[in-house]
Symmetry: C2
């Protein structure tokens, strides 16, 4: 047995206790938590019999499906266990394990919940419109379904996608690697217990169903997206990859981060009315080749995750354990708080300087890392780990390059 | 042992041999084929050991994942077995079993592949545009992701969805049951063997990856859809339910139905160029409360399933066993060949007569049944079974009614 300590300033102290899936030395996937600089195996820490058999699974889904009361109880047990005697075989230095995709994604939906982001894109793409926001935007959290199969864990390389694009001067569409590869810094929410078809999630019940949050990079090929998206929305411009951070931060750990969402005016319909603060004071940072280029504040988001889940199901649509819904690009009011490069560089017209060079979109070899912290219950800050991805050149085959 | 016969004119003769999942007398799900008026248990017919263990599974996914060569071999074995001595315990009258969802849906994408449908909707919604088609329409098969969790099998009741809508005269959106509930008659294609991320499906290889086809009703709430869909596409207007027919007709059984797709002009980019006929001469019928109101011809579809799969993956997006992609509404050139009621009734302005009454959208209690037939290899016709759904009133709770 061993005693663990948490270094001062660690983002993974007792107020966090996130859930993830790791592999040590190539062994099969195991469920763990992060404590200080260590990954602690939950099966070895808590046992694997009875309801705890879920800790012998290779993904979090069976545990998440056990529901809110169980999440509370297990969180208490983990908190007590990591401060006591811990079996040595349960402990791995965090930098010696490989983190894997923490859950099987059921359906994936991406929202568009930042007023600053939606307004900026409206000004960029529809400069002649009297209002940058669409008429529906303040009445419902606009969202669309994305590809669950291409959600990958941090560290997975991102191959530049190929596809059709057509600039204003092109007489016909051309085919080739995307020339406007971008990111979107988001927070994703993981559904622990879904709702049956025909039984919408009440907005007051959303907190019992959302298991936790991850960082999310919704890689976007702006040229492919611009050509394809009318009238049915984004598809190939997004579906090639999205990156999640490996640690699912429990919603329970984010209670200290709750703040009011910005005032919603006009008033929302009753099914979207919040009964408690659902804003989250999560401070996100975007690193481009190691340099912080933006600090999007999640607290500025107009629509909250509880409203997203209530809206998503109000027509009777079912959700399932492992459903992932993401916030959409997080942007604050200031320029250096914008969560996508197209917005940060105003469509490429106002480049940012990275390593001394003016830059707008991603080049092969570039690496983007999202990180985030939030207030924890004990006055410390808690972290999300990182959502990291490096851009590889487009494939040489497939008639692309 | 028993000998089976197929009634003259049966749509389930030896040229069909579709795959489905049934339950007899409440027993657990089993995989079967349909032969004449009987459902034949494939585990009992072919055995359940070795590679045939997949026939003891409750869904088709493990069998589909075994790949194209195996699909050919199993189809031959079934064809031989059903014409010989069949174990009596493997045979159930088709009207005595309950058909279940035949496969677990991985990702679901809906296309928009009928030129007649897309043109009609363009004329209806954008009457002032010089062309009813969007500029991208003839260059790529436009599509969007939908909700996999709400794909249900034929016979499942469809509860009228609630949601936001806003008519031109409404000062603000109102909330309530959809007043413009509609259908979309489509054919869906099931991916048997997916492609890894970064390795697009060549259009010439699509036939080796598509396992089979189903009928598909993409129920649509037009008022919810109209208010929500700008700029990211349909979401709640579609996600409440989609109905599939219970029998997956093997693509191998549809070889005799292959016809040329309509000429594609302008020429498509190389990654979408077909090397053989990929049109399918499937004749669809739409029954509204027992009365046939439309006969959409699938042969008129502009974009083929091979092109849909090649496009879906050209950016490197992975597909998986159980991926479902649907054609979008099938409409032919004639009025009574339109596959959605909004189109058939021209936005409600030109009602159709059902049971003596002028009708445009669905009322509670209405039932819609899609059926389809196609030429089979032996000169007979083969069938898809039906995609049936009845409309139930909106839920009384959830602040809806």
């Amino acid at each position: 047995m061993t005693r663990l300590t948490v270094p001062p300033g660690s983002l993974f102290g007792p107020a966090n206790l996130p859930y993830g899936v790791y592999s040590a030395a190539g062994a099969p996937p195991r469920i763990g938590t992060r404590y200080g600089d260590h990954v602690i195996d939950l099966g070895l820490l808590l046992g694997e019999s009875g309801p705890d058999a879920v800790f012998a699974e290779p993904v979090l889904n069976p545990f998440m499906a056990q529901g809110h009361d169980r999440w509370i109880a297990v969180r208490r047990r983990i908190g007590a266990a990591v401060t006591g005697d811990v079996p040595e075989e349960a402990v791995h230095p965090a930098d010696e394990v490989r983190m894997l995709m923490p859950f099987d994604v059921a359906d994936y939906v991406d929202f568009y919940a930042s007023e600053h982001h939606a307004s900026n894109l409206g000004r960029l793409f529809r400069p002649d419109n009297p209002s940058p926001l669409m008429p529906n935007w303040k009445h419902l959290p606009v969202g669309y379904h994305g590809r669950a199969a291409s959600v990958v864990v941090s560290g997975t390389d991102i191959t530049r996608p190929c596809g059709q694009r057509k600039g204003p001067a092109d007489p016909a569409p051309v085919f080739g690697p995307s020339a406007r590869l971008d990111i979107e810094a988001e927070v994703g929410f993981v559904v622990g217990t879904g709702n049956p078809m025909g039984e919408p999630v009440d907005v007051a019940d959303a907190g019992n169903r959302i298991f936790g949050a991850v960082l999310f990079n919704d890689w976007s090929a702006r040229d492919i997206q611009a050509w394809e998206y009318v009238p049915l929305g984004p598809n190939l411009g997004k579906s090639f990859a999205s990156t999640v951070s490996p640690w699912v931060v429990p919603l329970l750990a984010l209670d200290a981060a709750r703040v009011d969402t910005p005032p919603q005016e006009p008033a929302v319909l009753p099914y979207l009315a919040l009964d408690r603060p659902w804003g989250l004071d999560i401070a996100v940072e975007i690193e481009w080749n190691g340099q912080v280029v933006s600090r999007p504040p999640y607290a500025a988001m107009y629509w909250s995750p509880a409203q997203m889940l209530a809206h998503l199901t109000v027509n009777g649509a079912p959700t399932r354990t492992g459903d992932l819904f993401a916030s959409g690009t997080i942007s604050g009011p200031a320029r250096d708080q914008r969560g996508a490069f197209i917005e940060l560089t105003w469509g490429g017209q106002e480049p940012v300087t990275v390593a001394g060079e003016p830059r707008a979109f991603l080049r092969d070899g570039d690496e983007v890392v999202l990180t985030a912290t939030a207030p924890g219950a004990d006055g410390t800050r808690i972290g999300f780990g990182e959502a990291r991805g490096r851009v590889l050149p487009a494939g040489k085959d497939h008639r692309c390059t």
